[in-house]
């Protein structure tokens, strides 16, 4: 009975029990409501799009691991998040071949070249989206109306364009709320924005479901609540100030918060753990920088929307934030 070989390892011998794969899986659950809403609002095209990006990201991850003689890391679920999020930030009628390319780029350029999970310095999904936006700017700003009556029986013509071929433009352009505001100074009503009764990227329209997903993750201690809080507060405060100064020229803070990709970006993309700073104060600063950039680009920049760029720039700054803002170590006096 007592003649077994014992096992030895270092303390602590207890673990809290939630693994990285568990966290990633839960993020997928939290994303699904908003994704399903996208499918509900935009129909078959959106469904195909989300499936394509997810499959493409997962396949890419798998094959890259194979080629570099590593064990496949698909089982940690992070590639699923990347693929799903990429799909959610694309217009519903985005051609599938481009979406597939986006998934490949996200994982290779955004993740693999840096060394895989945990090493990437940019948000992989946004690297993919930025590439797509630069490569196919027209396709990515061609929007598809929400709640078409026949959306579950037909799909957009663009969806099944042949690879390398130009999509037929069957969408309408510039009618999303942000563009409407930027180019024609028309504001959309807040309830419509919050409930997602508008056109936009597949997964970004329903702010309420996105917030619910975020709250679920925060409650399970799987997401950093400081980053979204900081971004949203900054946008609200900065935009509120501008709006007070000149309410003609500048939109209301609520419009800012609920339009475009801000909610999705703040809750799910800026929070990508890997590419954001790790210290609590650093998170606040990071969020504030992203918030400021979003407002600056949206209001004074050439593009109607800037969440993606703001997050990518935030990612680029985050090593500096981590380096400059270190927690004060116990017993070392005041900061």
């Amino acid at each position: 009975m007592l003649n077994k070989t014992l096992n030895i390892s270092t303390s602590p011998h207890a673990v809290q029990g939630v693994s990285t794969a568990d966290i990633m899986r839960n993020v997928v659950w939290a994303l699904l409501p908003a994704a399903f809403f996208g499918v509900y609002a935009f129909g078959l095209s959106a469904l195909f799009l989300l499936i394509t990006t997810t499959v493409s990201a997962v396949l890419t991850e798998h094959f890259l691991c194979r080629f570099s003689n590593k064990e496949s890391t698909v089982s940690d679920w992070s590639a699923v998040i990347t693929g799903l999020l990429l799909g959610m930030t694309l217009p519903p009628n985005f051609p599938l071949w481009m979406a597939f390319l986006g998934g490949v780029i996200s994982i290779t350029l955004g993740k693999f070249i840096f060394g895989g999970l945990g090493c990437n310095v940019f948000n992989p999904a946004l690297v993919g989206r930025a590439f797509l936006q630069a490569a196919f700017p027209v396709a990515i700003t061609t929007w598809y109306p929400a709640f078409l009556p026949d959306r579950f029986s037909t799909y957009s013509v663009a969806t099944f364009t042949l690879p390398f071929m130009e999509p037929a433009l069957d969408g309408f352009t510039g009618a999303t709320p942000l563009a409407a505001f930027k180019f024609s100074h028309q504001a959309t009503a807040i309830p419509e924005l919050a409930l997602g009764l508008i056109s936009g990227s597949t997964g970004e329209t329903c702010a309420v479901l996105i917030i619910l997903g975020g709250l679920y993750l925060i409650a399970r201690n799987m997401m950093n609540w400081r980053i979204p809080a900081s971004i949203l507060l900054t946008v609200f405060a900065f935009c509120g100030l501008l709006n007070l100064i000149n309410s003609e020229l500048y939109p209301t803070p609520l419009f800012m918060l609920f339009s475009g990709g801000l909610m999705l970006g703040a809750v799910f993309m800026a929070t990508d753990l890997v590419a954001s700073p790790v210290t609590p104060l650093g998170n606040w600063v990071y969020g504030a920088i992203i918030g400021l950039l979003v407002v600056v680009i949206r209001i004074w920049g050439g593009l109607p929307e800037g969440v993606m760029y703001a997050v990518l720039l935030g990612n680029a700054i985050s090593p500096h934030i981590d380096n400059l803002i270190k927690p004060r170590v116990y017993g070392t006096g005041k900061r």
Binding site: F114, G115, A130, W300, L303, G306, L312
Partner: protein, 193 residues
């Protein structure tokens, strides 16, 4: 023609048309000296400094050349004058402040024959900037160069500890990051427009 505001000149040179990420000027130091934050910062400072000097020199030479009617000597005089001025400054700093020399000086010879400097003065002449505009342009370009260099250095320092695959290590990785940074900087497009 409406003259550009100083603000726009600055934003344009530093963010929208960043010298490194949009104009591809000074790629050699960008690839070479972006490994460590401290050196990157010093290099950025030195480049900005030389840019301001070069812009001043170039403004003067341009006036002179136009006056004597020899604009075709523009390029050769720019490069010769900038090179010697930088060398003079280097000697001067070395004599006056060894500390400053250690921080800045060692980079100066490197910078003398650098695309970013010459590019700056050529653009400045092409755009017909006046003296103050030239200085602002130089400051903006320098700030943009420093920003790009610092961002890259921060990222590369972080990646020193990442499990970067062997084949992408080194220049390939740096170029890819530069590409992604360049994509991100496109967010500034049209700023102030």
């Amino acid at each position: 023609m409406k003259p550009e505001s100083f603000w726009h000149i600055f934003i344009n040179a530093s963010l929208i048309n960043n010298f490194v990420l949009a104009y591809f000027l000074g790629i050699c130091p960008f690839l070479g000296v972006s490994g460590k934050k401290e050196t990157a910062m010093k290099m950025g400072g030195a480049v900005t400094f030389v840019m301001v000097i070069a812009a001043t020199c170039a403004y003067g030479i341009n006036l002179l050349l136009i006056a004597v009617g020899a604009p075709f000597l523009q390029l050769i005089s720019y490069i010769v004058v900038i090179a010697s001025t930088v060398q003079l400054v280097e000697m001067f700093i070395k004599k006056m402040s060894p500390a400053l020399f250690r921080a800045l000086g060692i980079f100066l010879p490197l910078i003398t024959t650098n695309c970013a400097i010459l590019g700056l003065v050529l653009f400045q002449t092409n755009k017909g900037y006046g003296f103050l505009e030239s200085i602002v342009y130089a400051l903006g370009a320098g700030a943009g160069f420093t920003l790009a260099l610092m961002l890259m250095a921060g990222l590369r320092e972080q990646l020193d500890f990442a499990e970067v695959p062997e084949v992408t290590k080194g220049t390939v990785l740096t170029l890819l990051i530069a590409g992604i940074l360049s994509l991100s900087f496109m967010g500034f497009a049209g700023l102030g427009g």
